[in-house]
Amino acid sequence: MKKWYDAINNATSVDAIEEIRISIFGKKGILAVEFAKMKEAPNEEKSKIAKELNTQKSALMHELTSKKMELQTKELELAMKQEGLDVSLFSASSEVGALHPVMETMDRIVEYFASLNFAVKTGKMVEDDFHNFEALNLPKYHPARDMQDTFYFRDEMLLRTHTSPVQIRTMMAQKPPIRMIAPGTVFRRDYDLTHTPMFHQIEGLLVDKKGKVSFANLKFILEDFLKYMFGEVEVRFRPSFFPFTEPSAEADISCVFCKGDGCRVCSHTGWLEVLGCGIVDPNVFEAVKYKDVSGYAFGLGVERFAMLIHQIGDLRSLFEGDIKLLEQFR
């Protein structure tokens, strides 16, 4: 019997094991021969022989099965080794495109206000003096017109300098209450490192019955909004001046780069100016013939938000379709 144990142990392939199995357990295998011999044995010994043979049989079977499994594992391992790859070769670059960071920021802002039940309103880029200036308490001689260098056309139309005309048109077309934002492209005649002649703005307007809308309401929504956009920042308000709001304020957030310690981006003040806002000036309501109402308005530059949020340094690169920049937003 030892011969067979050696044969099993020395087998090198699953096929060899199979041959051994047939030699031992097959119809003409050695075990069959041994069992056949049993017939000739005396009856009283038969059961003893049968018992021995069966012990032998199961021991051999066990040996054979475990050897077979061992060899199978080895062969599979070998086969897989053949299929081995240098996985480090495979780092594919993405083939999807990306949204523009400014437009994506705009989407985020719109999403915030839409979820707070603000209507989205849009308008045309070419505007007239009335909707862009006059109705917004900016008569022709108003010094604040200096702040907004305007592109004019030969027929005295102009490119809107803010999205406020959309608010005027909305108020003239529908009755209060109003709860809206106006996202859009606007234009100022200014072109240098920190200004482009075209940029994007989102302005918001809320109008309701007289005495209902207060400065405290304005503060509440803007504080919440700025935290939604920039994360945990401090928000402060400074009085300011806009012809169409009164009282007016500018909102600053603690610098997102230096956390308020002072750095180059915040001109060492620790604060970043991010939006303008205020209580709607009664002259604006008068221009659109609203009576006994109160309201607040706010406005912000989308490029500035995008640049602060994504830490983009170069404003101009936003208008060049520069894949170097855009592919980082995949």
Binding site: S93, G97, N117, V120, V126, R238, F241, S248, D322
Partner: protein, 779 residues
Amino acid sequence: MIVTRSWLNEWIDLEGITTKDLCKTFNSIGLEVDKLQSYDIPKKIVFGKVLECEKHPDADKLNVCKVDIGTSIRQIVCGASNVREGLNVVVATIGAVMPTGLAIKPVKLRGIESEGMICSASEIGLPDFMDGIIELDESVRKVRLGDEVKGHSLFSDDLIEIELTANRGDCLSIRGVARDLSAAYNRPLKDAVVNTNEDKRVGIGRILNLSHDKNYHVNLRYKAVDLKNLTLPFIVKLRLSQIEETRDSDILSLMLYSTHSSGVILRAYKHSFFKKEDETIAKIDLAECEKGFACIYSTDKKKASMVGIIQEDVSLVDVDEGIILIEASYIPPEIISRQMQESKIKSGPLYYKTSRGSEPELNRGLDCCMQMLEINSASDIYGGVIELCDKYENVVISITKDEIDEIIGYSIDKVEITKILKNLGFDTSKSQGDSFVISVPRYRHDIKNKQDIVEEIVRLVGIDNIPSKPFEFQEENRLGDDYFWYKKRKTYRYKAADIGFFESIHFVFDEKKILNSYGFETLVEQKDLLNPIVNTLDTLRPTLLTGMLKAASLNVKNGYSCIKLFEVGSVFDKERNESVKMTMLASGTQTADSLANSGKPVKVDFGYFVQKVTDIIGEFDLVETKTTHQLSHTYQSATVIQSGVVVGELFRLHPSVQNDYDLDITYLCELDFEKLPCSLKIAKESSKYQASQRDLSVIMPKSMKYAQVKSVIDEVKTDEIVSFKPVDIYSDEKLADEMSLTIRFTLQRDDKTLQEEDITSSINNILDALQSKLQIGLR
């Protein structure tokens, strides 16, 4: 507006308020601090006095001085040309380290011991405003020999630059800023009491006479001075350099100083300008010029100035002596800026202040100026003034405490409100109970209504001290057309980005010349831009294509070979009507180089581009069409048709344009965004029976278009044929001018499984039609 701490301190006591706190207050009351600069004078630089001054025996340009520095007398060699005996100076003593890093040590200069250095302004870190060494005078008060310069507020000063909003003309002077601070800190404004010895003086009436033909909205007030021996004090020179202003003569510098300090517009005229040679009385005539502005004329109708706008050179005082007239003027800003808007004329340096609202209390400026003249010159000042005032009544605004609280959304104490208004110079004495009656001083021309009053209260209370409160609103569906339009844009943009295109934004401005050269129509002349910012952006774009090409070109320069871009943006037709286009560009290779393509990525081709555009906008048909512009390849351009509607064009870029922009093979597609579908999808019920496919290969001339074949099939196909599409084109030498086109048909019925004979009959039907109409048939 530039202010310095020491200058402000002349109008309001800043004791106990740090400069940091001052800046915080400025920001919180709406005077935004733009810049803070602190002058830090090094230690061991002290006040001294030159007791003796002698020429250096061995050097022409050096002097040997004995200088009293309080504790001792030192010998100092000085090279400045203005050093002289008796001069009060600034001395860097032994051990001082100058801002440049130079350490002061005892030295020998040409053999003579020197123990220190007499300093110039720039040497101690001040603006360079005096030639040679600093000469101190009485204007620098509280100076003791030996005291460190560092401890003197005039030298260790803080300079604060404030960015003023357009409405705050009242803060365009030191006194104006101090007035706002007085309300913020609840400290009184220090208005100097001026001593005038009017009795002993010759009255101004003896030499000046003022006439006017009608009433003007102008306030004028004149003083006359016989100017003698004027020396400009140190403090004036230093401060004018700090506010970065200079004037040619001492008298003009003095007046500029008074204006910046008080806010009153001051001008000086030659007395002689207004009189004939043989006369003693000058006559000033206020009259309207041809453009309707109030102007000052001499008796012989020579214009001296336009009030509040500009002074003519001929009337300017050019020497610091002789009789001069000093004029203080005020003109309401809303009047002057409206006039100026209507007739654009050149304005002088003080116009900015006038147009934003200068100080209407004219004596404040004149007093300031006269006092300086008395101290710093031997001039004779004529008694009294000659003046002209328009009638003015203060704006009165009534508002209740409830109204104030409603706008702010928070209740502010009545006493607090009254205190704020009073400190701002508003008269509230007529108020009763909870009703405020507020008389607004003229210098606050920006305060016109209730909300203006609330703004004043809000900014002085501090916005950060007002608690935030959510607004309570009624639910309402606000998802209107504009929202869905926005959402449609968003949907297409997200799709394009997912399919592999990068979103780009370009200016809506473009270059007319280039657009025209490619055959695009631009704005008609009378509707074109009047004031473009640069020549290359001189009109509005009629297409997004050129912007795309520029962007592609930039990316090629940056080393990119696989360029896929899109934009959704506005364009303008020649009548300037705005519409939105969606444009896609694919240029160079289909993918970046990688292992998968053995570093040789396949270039974009027509089929690839059509596939990508389809992935974004859904299926469409192409009809061969020439574009109206010349950007397209002559034989690879098409109209894009979706559900029978023309939605745009798709083409390969013309090879010569490709060269113009240094591009590799490029495809473009521009679509009318409005025409792209955005309706909700309707699902069709599908057949339960099996579908079959049949391929049909026909031999047809190479010149024949698939569109012809397609239209014949469309015409005759039976309902069993649910779809068909070309799947293979084959040609070889044997076929010569012909080719084999394989079309795959899908057949299916809703009511039964198609039998072989049904299929054959359908296909034969088509074959017959192709044979009879196009004379093409099976291979």
